[in-house]
């Protein structure tokens, strides 16, 4: 598109059907122990 460049095609709504398996890491287990950072975690199903 001339005016708009979209960076991602895979959107969150697509994860509703197959998501929620719970196999992923808990958020505080990576580095943060004082905040909450979930958006940067990895999905185990996509590995």
């Amino acid at each position: 598109m001339k005016h708009i460049k979209t960076l991602n095609t895979q959107t969150l709504n697509h994860t509703v059907k197959k998501g929620g398996c719970g196999e992923c890491q808990t958020s505080c287990q990576s580095a943060c122990k004082t905040s909450c950072t979930v958006g940067n975690q990895t999905c185990e199903n996509r590995k």
């Binding site: 708009i4 509703v16 943060c32």
Partner: protein, 467 residues
């Protein structure tokens, strides 16, 4: 819901509920912003109506040509039809259903040592003692904790165990014995343990390094940055600084892990609000996996972050983000934990909106085997959930944590960052508001800024790819 902002010369539009990110020109930026003000619940139908176009003409008729406005409106309609603009938040009922599912325990934070050989001024564990007595976890208690985890993990195969403290290397033999015990159970129960060690490095030596590289999936190395910054906040108990002893050991360990599966993790406070310098100090030392986080302190603590510090902190994040783009382009890139963002993947909506898992999937275990919702609640008797002998004896505490999600927090409903922080840290909420269903506002401000910076970095790097 649309969130739009300008950063480092980029016009960025985030469609909050789909997570779609658009980098747009000035006219599209203005038009989308104006359409959001007109009706934040636009649909392809409402966008296609004559009065929508007339509205845009009224707003921008003298600034942009009719042809340009039509072009942009058509593009907006197309993206809305594709579920990438004006997407509705349809997840509340879904998250309610997800939260009702039976949860399993999948991670434990083992407090193997409530003791420490440093006396960090901001330590929430109060020099490792957590408002209580000094203690080391026995092998027997640790074994029962791992048994508890296996027994309560259902069909979940990957189990995470963080050796935490205090300083876990002060109880090193027990750590090694527990790793051996865990490994011996894996085949029997079809489980796989992922161990993490969080250490201040004082007792790190070649033997520890060899073991850690063989057995630990992740290792978190605590250091605050520049020598003067680190030594002011992280002294030994006699007041001497710890930087000179620790840094060579951390550099060696990081290299021995091929600069992977570890974090050099610092805390910034009001006393080093120019923390981007500390992040860059880590980069100059050669560290590739960096995390530097804001301190959480009482308002009365002189080092605590205050609301009035936020403008400077935002400038620091901006500076850091720009520098990271430049370094990436010149082949000297590194990872900053709080800017990590996978636009094409990352966690599912269920994970993003249902909270961090503390109190249900993640529990902390004290040296004597008591169970708490997470490491930050340890020592607060109100949250004592049970112990490794009897298991969870107060399920009502787990139920309260299970009921916590972005939808149980009023402040999250209108926040564009809710898909990235999952409603924030419940321990911080409790610390400042005496309830887990609120948010720590200063932390929220910083999280929003970090998400904006992280997206800008993606935009800048995509820009380069397109050139």
């Amino acid at each position: 819901m649309i969130h739009q902002y300008q950063n480092n010369g980029y016009n960025i539009v985030l469609d909050v509920n789909s997570g779609a990110v658009h980098v747009v020109d000035k006219i599209a930026y203005d038009v989308i912003g104006s359409l959001e003000v007109m009706n934040s619940f636009h649909t392809p139908e409402t966008l296609g109506k004559e009065n929508t176009y007339r509205y845009l003409l009224e707003q921008f008729g003298g600034i942009y040509s009719e042809e340009e406005l039509k072009e942009v409106l058509e593009a907006v309609i197309e993206l809305t039809e594709a579920g990438q603009l004006f997407t509705k938040d349809t997840y509340e009922d879904y998250i309610g259903e997800v939260k009702q599912r039976k949860t399993v325990v999948k991670a434990l934070c083992l407090h193997v040592a409530h003791d420490c050989n440093l006396a960090c001024r901001y330590c929430f564990a109060e020099e490792g003692e957590y408002h209580g007595r000094r203690a080391l976890m026995s092998y027997e208690v640790g074994k029962k904790a791992l048994d508890f985890l296996i027994a309560n993990s259902g069909s979940r195969r990957n189990l995470e165990v963080d050796f935490f403290g205090g300083e876990p290397l002060m109880n090193w033999q027990v750590v090694k014995d527990l790793v051996a015990y865990g490994r011996a159970q894996e085949q029997k129960y079809d489980k796989h343990f992922r161990f993490t060690l969080t250490t201040n490095g004082v007792l790190l030596n070649d033997e520890v390094q060899e073991f850690v590289n063989r057995e630990m999936d992740n290792v978190v190395l605590s250091l605050d940055g520049r020598p003067e910054v680190n030594d002011k906040m992280r002294p030994f108990r006699n007041g001497r600084g710890s930087y000179d002893l620790i840094v060579p050991k951390f550099c060696k360990l990081a290299d021995s892990r091929n600069q992977d599966r570890y974090y050099i993790r610092g805390t910034f406070t009001r006393e080093n609000l120019d923390f981007s310098e500390d992040v860059m100090h880590f980069a100059e030392l050669g560290f590739k996996q960096v995390s530097v986080e804001p301190v959480v302190g009482e308002d009365t603590d002189p080092y605590a972050i205050r609301e009035s510090d936020l403008p400077q902190i935002f400038r620091e994040y901006d500076t850091l983000a720009k520098t990271m783009v430049e370094r990436e382009r010149s082949g000297k890139g590194f990872t900053f934990f709080h800017f990590m963002l996978d636009l094409e993947g990352g966690p599912c909506v269920a994970k993003r909106l249902s909270g961090c898992g503390s109190g249900t999937e993640y529990l902390a275990v004290t040296p004597w085997g008591d169970l708490y919702p997470c490491h930050q609640f340890v020592g607060n008797e109100e949250f004592l959930m049970g112990n490794v002998d009897e298991g969870i004896v107060k399920p009502e505490i787990a139920d309260e944590f299970r009921g916590c999600s972005v939808y149980s927090k009023e402040k999250c409903r209108d926040c564009f960052a809710r898909f990235y922080c999952s409603g924030g840290c419940m321990a911080n909420s409790h610390k400042f508001h005496n309830t887990i269903h609120d948010t720590y506002d200063v932390s929220c401000e910083m999280e929003r800024k970090r998400v904006e910076c992280a997206i800008m970095i993606k935009a800048a790097l995509a820009d380069e790819e397109g050139e």
